[in-house]
Amino acid sequence: MNNLDDEIKFNEFGFTYDNDGNRGIYDINLSIQEGEFVVLTGPSGCGKTTLTRCMNGLIPDFYEGKIKGSCHVCGMEISHHETGDYSARVGSVFQDPRSQFFTMHVKTEIPFPSENLGMPMTLIQEQFRNTTEQLNISDLLEKSIFELSSGEKQKIAIASVYNAEVGIYVLDEPSANLDEIGTEQLRQLLEQLKEQGRTVIISEHKLYYLRELADRVVLMHKGKIKEILSGKDFADNNYEWFKKNSLRQINLKDVTGQPGVFGAEREDSIRIKADHLSFKYPRDQLLWKNACFESTGGDIIGIIGKNGVGKSTLIRVLMGLEKQTSGKISMFNRYASKQQRRKKSFYVMQDVDYQFFEGSVLNEMVSGYEDDPKVYERAKLILEKFSLAAYQDVHPSTLSGGQKQRLSIALSCMSDMPFLYFDEPTSGLDAENMKMVAETIKQQALAGKIAFVITHDYEFAVSLFTSLLIVKDDHTIRQVDTSQYAPTLLKKIFQVE
């Protein structure tokens, strides 16, 4: 392959989507050489995803719209070619692992692109052996996609395009659903691709894991390229610079929280207590046992632990979706059954799309409370407080990720539930939205509620938590209460140092 073929070149390029004229990219001038590692970053809606879609040929074949200027990928002008024409050269990895696998098993997914391209059987088999060996994934081969952790899923997504021997890798927010271990696995894999001289283009919010890898960073804002920096210059910028550009921090060591942001007055009547709680799925191994902890209103409890130790199950038990195997949970100093817990708890899922059922934001707020004559006024007041009032008539699914999270929390205010549960509320959010979600949760705690938060987002955690529950590998749960908690503890847990 010669140099000229492999490069990507945008010349005075512009694109606007047919179905949404406001979204698009403008005045793009950018050329990417073979073997370069380029990071695209910027706040949500800045156009970095659109730019990746041009590089893998989804624009204009799949996402239709108006093109200005020219864009060549591997010497092919994108307006004259179909997406499929690029599959032999460009490999794509997407944000959500659930919808990027066509087959259901690791063993069939890895050769899938090669088979589509019509490579001969013996060649695919040989490549398959190389891929599993070089990417170190032989222990995953027999598994189904559903059994993999999120980090492993992204590994397989990369492996499948690696198997087709593409030269250019285009990744769109591949770390959005990954924990710190998964992100590290991804980083190692990207490092390997870089060493092999592949071209990597990655669009990301999370920047810290790309610090050593980026050759160039393209900073985007409102559909335009704001600045192109070398990887080194970019990483040398200080804390304030990242903050000013509303980016996630690249040096997590610089990020510190203020200790003891506990609700001003402790609300003692709101109280949850777990007494020798254990959980075990039938016919499965024990998740955790003898957990004892206690919390009062105003507390924001971070739930920390490796993948698969049962963090999600812990909050599911607390909120009453699952029944504990043994032990007792009391609320307001009284024993609370599963049904009683459910009535007092609000759950903000990782994927909030599952939580909206109505045609508009306002209807969503009043759903289930139609009997109350003043409900609309109350709903509008709450929306105002969450700065969502302008969106009260739009459909919930058209909101951005951060707005959806905030709407979810707003829903909890309608019913005044004192116990809130969050499962990864910031996955895929940019710095700005992350801060807003953190502020909203803090406000709720200040109002005397208790929030349980599962997260693997260090920046988010450090500014938020007031105490911790650590789920350990030996099936025990340790509480670090407010008096012992300091944000510096998180540095060690998230392996920032």
Binding site: T83, Q100, F102, T108, Q125, D353, Y354, F356, G368
Partner: protein, 235 residues
Amino acid sequence: MSFKGFKPGVHILILQIIITAILGFYLNSQAAVTGLFLSVNFLLIYWYGAVVFLKRLVFYTILNGVVIGLTMVQMPILSWLFPSFIMMIIKIYPVSLLIKLMIDKAPMNELLYSLEILHVPKSLSIPTMVVYRYVPTVFREIRYINESLTMRGLNLSFSNLNRIIKTLENYIVPLLFRSDKIAEELAAASLCKGLSVKRKRTCCTDVRFAMTDFIYLICMILVVGALLFLNRLNT
């Protein structure tokens, strides 16, 4: 690392499904219908084990028992409607078991390749595969939606029976929105991975007609012959 294909070959499995479907409706003697079920269920021990075999056997017996019971004790309306409906299930049951086997066990790439060998047009086989892939995902999605509805007390339950239509809507709306999103993302990912109506696919496992396929086919013909014979004997 082995690259052996699924045995029997997926195209033979498809053939078997078609034959079983035809037999299910052609056979009219009780003995032959039961025989068809028994032969399929017996075959599936290999993949699912004896416990599942027994469970299905019990289920089948109960179905038959209900039909016999309802025809013996004449109940108004029930004896009219139910037996024919259950007979329908009894006839479809063996095919549905084989289809389930294919969904559970047959690798998708071989299935796609087999359909190509059988000259099924790509514009038909690719959408079929997407549906086939989407079935397990739908169940997952419904479970998540049910959880979130349960937390808000809007789920399907006795206390919500008086607003059943609204409750069902609560399930369908997010399901449709999620499906739309997944469909779009899946289509984009497949296109990027080179899935195309125009290009000819290959398969990384060896799906050529082998000795085991041949033996399997012979056994199948023998069983079909026996069932037809049984059918004629009893009518």
